[in-house]
């Protein structure tokens, strides 16, 4: 009996030990409660005596990208004195990166530094979830907002209290990207269509030429389609932009989806998806059919390159076709590293944000070919151009030079609410459930409610 009790005691002790062993894995960073006021404008923390742990996270699109960030974290860990870095690869977009992050922010367990897409900056900033880094930036020798592309910086330095840019600093852009059309060269040749790259070089790559190529590929019959674009605001936004339209009015305080320009762009998209039948149906993921060799032109950003590299046909990229406005209507996609407003170590976090956005670090990320450096640096761009395929890497950089519309948050309203209404309405339009007239008559009545909140 006594032996049995002894064994029970040993088992209990071991169980307790197992729980206590868990303490060794924790970090020394103590997180304050989520509802504690954010130290948003003042730089308060005292210089820590010992090494502090900074947890950071970004959204990788694949394991290779996660490995690159892990290596960067290891290297920066050795470089940054007094800072121990812990890299936490976030889930992919489909794994709800942002939703997980928001939940962690609410519960006070979010990392010190994290990446968010450009459209989320306003929501995070106005709710006091991210740190205003301006005082720290001003105290940093050599720091300049001008080192980064102006489009993202316009939003990253926007002060919602005064409505002016340049006064605050919500973070620094991790990278930028533009859209291009990934081409199945074998399929286009088989269809007897002209090579879009040659048309672009000749200055003839416009919507008409694009439609000709798309029709030629679709004419191959069966499941072959000329064009494929994913079902989110980026791809259809291109047609609106290229026609001279926009989602919002000039000062981004109201919906502009019912302007003649926006409707002209949407009419073209509608023709692509419903009338001509040259596109992979709206809502279907176009990447699998493109990789299966069934789609001639696949619209996507640089982030799709690692996946496309595995296809077994000849491929390259070309810029987007020019629209009625004389421009291709491209986007400048970006996301930013921001600092958790509740971090106990903002100075160290700021150091990390800077280190993650140096030309050297961005060159390493660009080497993967997944995105374009956000720093206006020839060194970083040269590094980007060397990583082929695609042979025509320049197409992505041309997109940057062709006055793209910067992806941006909605300071005067709720972007998530706006995009919910817009996505649903445009999806109805592009799947033939509603007419352009009906769309024009109702969309802004509904979408403008996003500005009332």
């Amino acid at each position: 009996m006594r032996i049995k009790q002894l064994w029970s005691l040993i088992a209990l002790l071991l169980l307790v030990s197992l729980v206590l062993a868990a303490c060794g894995g924790g970090t020394t960073t103590s997180q304050p409660a989520a509802n504690e006021p954010a130290a948003n404008t003042a730089v308060e923390p005292a210089a820590p005596a010992a090494e502090v742990t900074i947890r950071w996270r970004t959204r990788p699109d694949n394991q290779e990208e996660a490995n690159v960030y892990q290596n960067i974290s290891n290297q920066l860990d050795a470089q940054l004195e007094g800072i121990k870095l812990v890299y936490e690869p976030g889930g992919s977009e489909t794994a709800s990166y942002q939703d997980v992050l928001k939940t962690e922010l609410a519960s006070g367990t979010a990392p010190d530094v994290f990446w968010i897409p450009g459209t989320d900056v306003a929501d995070f900033a106005t709710r006091g979830l991210i740190y205003d880094l301006r005082p720290l930036a001003n105290a940093t020798p050599g720091y300049s907002d001008d080192a980064f592309y102006p489009g993202p910086m316009l939003h990253l330095t926007f002060n919602p209290a005064t409505g002016k840019s340049g006064e605050v600093l919500w973070g620094l852009p991790r990278d930028v990207s533009t859209f291009a059309l990934y081409l199945n060269l074998d399929l286009i040749e088989e269809a007897g269509a002209e090579d879009p790259r040659e048309l672009e070089a000749a200055g003839e790559w416009d919507w008409d030429a694009f439609m000709e190529v798309a029709k030629a590929v679709s004419a191959l019959g069966g499941e072959f389609k000329g064009y494929g674009g994913s079902a989110w605001w980026g791809p259809y936004g291109v047609w609106i932009n290229a026609a001279g339209g926009s989602f919002f009015n000039a000062d981004r305080t109201a919906c502009a989806l019912n302007t003649p320009e926006a409707l002209e762009g949407l009419a073209f998209a509608q023709m692509l998806y419903t009338q001509s039948g040259v596109a992979v149906p709206y809502g279907e993921d176009p990447e699998p059919p493109f990789r299966a060799g069934k789609v001639g032109m696949f619209q996507n950003g640089r982030w799709a390159t690692p996946g496309i590299r595995t296809v077994n046909f000849n491929w390259d990229v070309v810029g987007l076709p020019t629209g009625p406005n004389g421009e291709p209507g491209n986007w400048l996609f970006w996301g930013a590293y921001v600092v958790n407003a509740n971090t106990p170590n903002p100075e160290q976090a700021w150091k990390l944000v800077q280190a993650l956005t140096t030309a050297e670090t961005q060159g390493k990320v660009a080497a993967l070919g997944a995105n374009i450096p956000s720093r206006v640096s020839q060194e970083a761009l040269d590094a980007f151009l060397t990583f082929t395929p695609p042979a025509n890497n320049q197409a992505f950089l041309n997109g940057l030079a062709q006055d793209p519309t910067a992806e941006g948050p909605l300071w005067a309203g709720s972007w998530p609410q706006f995009v919910t209404v817009m996505d649903a309405a445009i999806s109805s339009l592009l799947t033939g459930q509603t007419t352009l007239d009906n769309f024009a008559a109702t969309v802004c009545d509904e979408a403008n409610k996003a500005f009332n909140r």
Partner: protein, 559 residues
């Protein structure tokens, strides 16, 4: 020997009386501390939100009152005092321990333990080896010496393996870190509280104390019962009932989950149910001309007595989501229940290999929803998916056999056609749920006495008659359970839609369901308060539907 002496000394009535007075003093102290804490909560200008303040006050007051009541009862040596004391000290011990583990970072550490766990996995083989040695001992029961030696060796090997495992996963740094954190004032205070509550708990639990306070067998049974129940009860209160009530409170606020939480009364519910009907001069008149478009969006149009009307809703998407959810329930429930019944009837037969088929049909219900949905997404791809490929092959074959194009390949846009997308989700859900429902029906079928079928056969009833006159009526309780649980599951459909459609709920709003919509509101649009109110509306719907089904079942049983 020393242990026995101490036990004897602790058991002396005089010592017990002293312990009793100490415990009474301890409860006076706890009462003062509890009352002070409540006063501090409300008088100090802390940043605690109202709901948390309310819950904390309720818990503290309950423990304070229990402590106050325990004092005179203990001094009068009434067993009621012991019960109250055990309640207060047990809860105090549990809460102090959880708080200590939380502030010492153990819970976060357990998450991190997952990363280091792999380092110790090898040592599991040592534990397994010890277990095998221990097991082999059974073969030597006729040789007591060898038997005991093998058992002992097995035990020690297992112990060594476990210790090695703990060392490998970081026991030493873990213990050092824990001890270091105990040095922090808050943690030290909590550790002291754990020890004190634990000690008093031990004092009061002892048999000698129970006897002194006149414990009766029913008291003992009650305490033991509640003790066994307590892990589940506390877990239920903390992790289910607590959040449930909290979400009810949140539904009356404009909470964004990040600190803002203003009481707005029924405003969220008002937004959900704010509808407006306006007559139209012509069926094609724009809704914006008759509805206040700053508030309402057009939901639908209808004609009544020759006149057209437009129905507007402040939150159009809620009603669309509700419609989609109802459509989903109306199709997914029959499609996962009726085939399950038929399948169970087939699988109930005594044919060789039937167990394999039972397993095969059950597999989808235990497969991970996300993985299954991802596979179906590929199958559904309208261009390169297997389903459309199969349909196209059949169409081609028929056309070839006919020698003419009698059929056209429909090229179904499973996930891109608004008319089909919801049905695509129904197919997956029905396929997944059918297996579990089949098992339930199988259990029900096996409870039907064979003699009934034999009697029916003698009376000349054929198989079909037996099925409709015996099987289905006697399966009514099973059918009630299957339909109720499947309906509840269907009303809460989320995972399949979220993974399958892109963007979730698309194309358009054709697959937006209630739970998906409330998730979008809560986690994408930062409207936790509004999302909570939608959750409560859904709860009431499910509750009402279940009550209705219960009453139908009772009526049927009474007949």
């Amino acid at each position: 020997m020393q242990l026995t002496t101490n036990r004897a000394r602790f058991g002396l009535p005089g010592t017990l009386a002293l312990h009793l007075r100490l415990v009474a003093g301890w409860h006076i102290l706890l009462s003062v501390v509890g009352a002070t804490a409540v006063a501090y909560l409300w008088l100090a200008n802390g940043g605690m939100v109202l709901w948390l303040k309310g819950i904390s006050t309720a818990v503290l007051l309950m423990l304070t009152i229990a402590s106050v009541l325990a004092v005179p009862a203990l001094l009068r040596r009434q067993h009621r005092g012991r019960t109250l004391s055990l309640l207060v000290n047990y809860l105090g011990f549990v809460f102090a321990l959880i708080a200590l583990l939380h502030y010492a970072g153990v819970f976060i550490g357990i998450d991190a333990l997952a990363n280091t766990f792999g380092r110790g996995v090898l040592f599991f083989s040592v534990i397994l080896a010890g277990y095998l040695v221990h097991g082999v001992a059974d073969r030597f029961r006729d040789y007591p010496q060898t038997f005991r030696r093998l058992q002992r060796t097995g035990n020690w090997v297992m112990l060594a393996g476990l210790v090695a495992f703990l060392l490998a996963v970081g026991l030493i740094p873990g213990l050092l870190a824990f001890l270091a954190r105990l040095g922090e004032p808050r943690n030290a205070l909590l550790f002291g509280a754990v020890l004190l509550f634990g000690f008093v708990l031990w004092l009061m639990w002892r048999h000698e104390m129970a006897s002194l306070l006149g414990e009766k067998s029913r008291d003992s049974e009650m305490l033991n019962g509640y003790l066994f129940l307590s892990p589940n009860l506390l877990g239920f209160l903390l992790f289910f009932a607590g959040p449930l009530l909290l979400s009810l409170y949140v539904s009356f606020t404009d909470s964004d989950a990040f600190g803002r939480q203003n009481w707005i009364g029924l405003q969220n519910y008002g937004e959900i149910f704010n509808l407006s009907v306006a007559p139209l001069q012509s069926p094609t008149q724009l809704a914006g001309e008759v509805l206040d478009v700053r508030v309402y969006d057009e939901l639908t149009r209808f004609t009544l007595f020759g006149r057209s009307y437009v129905l507007g809703a402040q939150d159009k998407l809620f009603w669309i989501a509700l419609r989609n959810t109802v459509m989903f329930v109306l199709t997914a429930v029959p499609l996962s229940v009726v085939p399950a019944l038929l399948l169970a009837a087939v699988l109930n037969s005594q044919v060789p290999g039937m167990k394999v088929f039972r397993t095969i049909y059950f597999l989808p219900s235990i497969a991970a929803v996300v993985g299954v949905a991802l596979i179906w997404r590929w199958l559904y791809n309208s261009t390169v998916g297997w389903i459309n490929y199969f349909i196209a092959s059949i169409v081609t074959l028929i056309n070839q056999l006919a020698g003419a194009e009698v059929l056209t390949d429909p090229q179904i846009g499973w996930l891109s056609d608004t008319k089909v997308a919801l049905f695509a989700v129904v197919i997956i859900a029905a396929w997944q749920w059918m297996g579990f429902n089949t098992v339930l029906y199988l259990a029900g079928l096996q409870n039907i006495p064979k003699s009934l079928y034999e009697a029916a056969t003698v009376d000349g009833a054929n198989s079909l008659t037996q099925f409709f006159r015996i099987t289905i009526p006697l399966l009514a309780p099973t059918t009630f359970f299957v339909v109720s649980t499947t309906t509840i599951q269907a009303m809460q459909i989320f995972d399949q839609v979220y993974v399958l459609t892109n963007p979730p709920g698309g194309p358009g709003t054709s697959t937006t369901t209630i739970v998906l919509y409330l998730y979008t509101q809560g986690f994408r649009n930062f409207r936790q308060g509004y999302a909570s109110s939608i959750a409560w509306v859904l709860f009431l719907l499910i509750f009402g539907l279940t009550i209705f089904q219960f009453q139908r079942q009772r009526s049927a049983a009474a007949e």
